[in-house]
Amino acid sequence: MSSVVLHPALILIAGALLLPLLRGNARNIAVLSAPTFALIALWLLPEGKLWQVPWLDYSLAPLAVDKLSRLFATIFLLMAAVGGLFALRQQSRLEVPAAFLYAGSAVGVVLAGDLVTVFLFWEFMAVGSTLVLWSAGTSTARAASMRYAMIHLAGGVILFAGVAGQIAATGDANFHAMQADSIATWLILIGFLINAGAPPLAAWLPDAYPEASWSGTVFLSAFTTKTAVYVLLRGFPGTEILIWVGIFMIFYGIVYALLENDMRRILAYSIVNQVGFMVVGIGIGTEMALNGAAAHAFAHIIYKALLLMSAGAVLAATNRRKCSELGGLFHSMPITTLCGTIGALAISSFPLTSGFVSKSMVTQAAIDGQLQTVWLFLAAASAGVFLHAGIKFPWFVFFQKDSGLRPADPPASMRWAMIFFAFLCIALGVYPDSLYALLPYTVNYVPYTTAHIITQLQLLLFSGLAFFVMLDHLKRTPTITLDVDWLWRVAGPALSRMGGTTLAALRLAVTAPLASVATHLRSRIERESRHDGLLHRNWPTGTMATWVMILLLTYLVLDFSAL
């Protein structure tokens, strides 16, 4: 174990522990420099298993670097830095340290070379993210953070059972590609998928993320689901069932986002939708598809954070989150409107944005594999992304009817965070080679062909036409749409209450007669204990002798009957 090498995850976590002690400018500098130092440390690392620790009979590798892990660690640290900039004016003193613990743990997962380290950081991530949510300080956020923690702790238990089973079965703690062919590997896969926002538990994500503070949701959107994408990429590439899991996630996200009124819940559902594209790519499993999934995760973190920053800026300025109460904000928030719109174009994969150069690699992989059904689903989904996030979000928040609100653009720290990520959305779209150079496999793909641009524009612009044609049916109403979280928010508690009353009634039915028997017995004993009672009387010796004889006879009979 080389001690000269600094672990980027530990740098960020050390920063998280240091932050609560600092105030004012020292704190601001620490917020920006902790992720920056970690990023520098990451890029100074050579490839390979850098730390080897013997533990029990296994050899653990808490620090292992290759192209895939460096790509994910890079975007996580970049996100922590820019998220920290955005959150500089956050009043809660808990949120940013919690977010750095969370981000640092996510970096720990992607730099882990063995399953034990993966599990450890996986759980720290759950703690950090729960604290981010909790630090919003509202009662709804606290309730949501408890539900969120339950799901993630359950997921952690499933993952741990899988990891323990896998290590017991193979004697190998290393984290490498697996086949879902044993109970242990299935449990690992299920544990990973729960964090990815896969069915049937996907509702934890739109339930929890939108309850965080205006800056908290920005952090939350980045790490949990994309760490899950990373471990699926490394652990289960080419697992066919993931194609269908991903397609389900894509359309689940679109349909629920279309019905949603809360601007940040729209974006939360669209996280599930976007992760669905990555999961499909992992399921296809070719080099093109895996590159596409990794590139899309990288691009997605940036534009999703940008979208949530613009929503956070609106929330911080207006204290409103429902589309039905917003609108017309372009009048007074031009920078936020522009940045939010750039994020919306990037998520929709418009040419010249980052989404165009990343998502199309997954689509291309479906084409190369002659998977026509999958391709048709992906094409429809691309149109659907523009529909539910690309137009819907900016239209209802910044344009549509005039709500009469005239809040100003946010303060400089928030503005610069948005401008920087908006710049990256365009820069990655214009110079895709800078992103392609970081991908795990050599990229042999040219995104900008005339044919690709024209077909993509047809798909997207006609999706836009459909939006405006159907606008009357998409008008927002103050409603929510029930999701599976109904099961643990309403059905579960109701069932347990019902179970409680049934149990109480049952107990009464059993104990009431028993109690009367007991009372009767006690009064009888009391009566017989008086000095003329049965228990107080002198018994003749003859009676005793008779009883002893009866006992002995019984023994005799039993003894013979046993023969």
């Binding site: 094409a379 529909l387 047809q458 006609f462 999706s463 459909a466 409603t479």
Partner: protein, 85 residues
């Protein structure tokens, strides 16, 4: 009439709509002049992507509305259980 922002003027909005429709038409017409390298048989139909994008979006909206009939609730639905927690 002086408006607060050029986008508030209905005439400008009409111009934007016109521009949008022209671009829509151009992307479809371009298909006649450029080889779009169809990967699958179905893709070689003229204007396939345009029609497919439009129709699938309508279907998704209709599907979402249908689901909404059963699952839509007032947004105060969960407020009760949150007060209890």
């Amino acid at each position: 009439m002086k408006t607060e922002h050029w986008l508030d003027d209905p005439r400008n909005v009409r111009k934007l709509w016109l521009g949008f429709l022209v671009v829509l038409a151009l992307t479809v017409i371009a298909g006649a002049f450029v080889d779009l390298h169809p990967h699958f048989e179905i893709e070689s139909w003229f204007g396939f992507n345009a029609a497919y994008g439009f129709v699938t979006c309508l279907l998704m909206i209709v599907g979402a509305k249908a689901l909404g009939i059963f699952l839509k609730k007032p947004d105060t639905y969960y407020a009760k259980d949150e007060r209890n927690e």
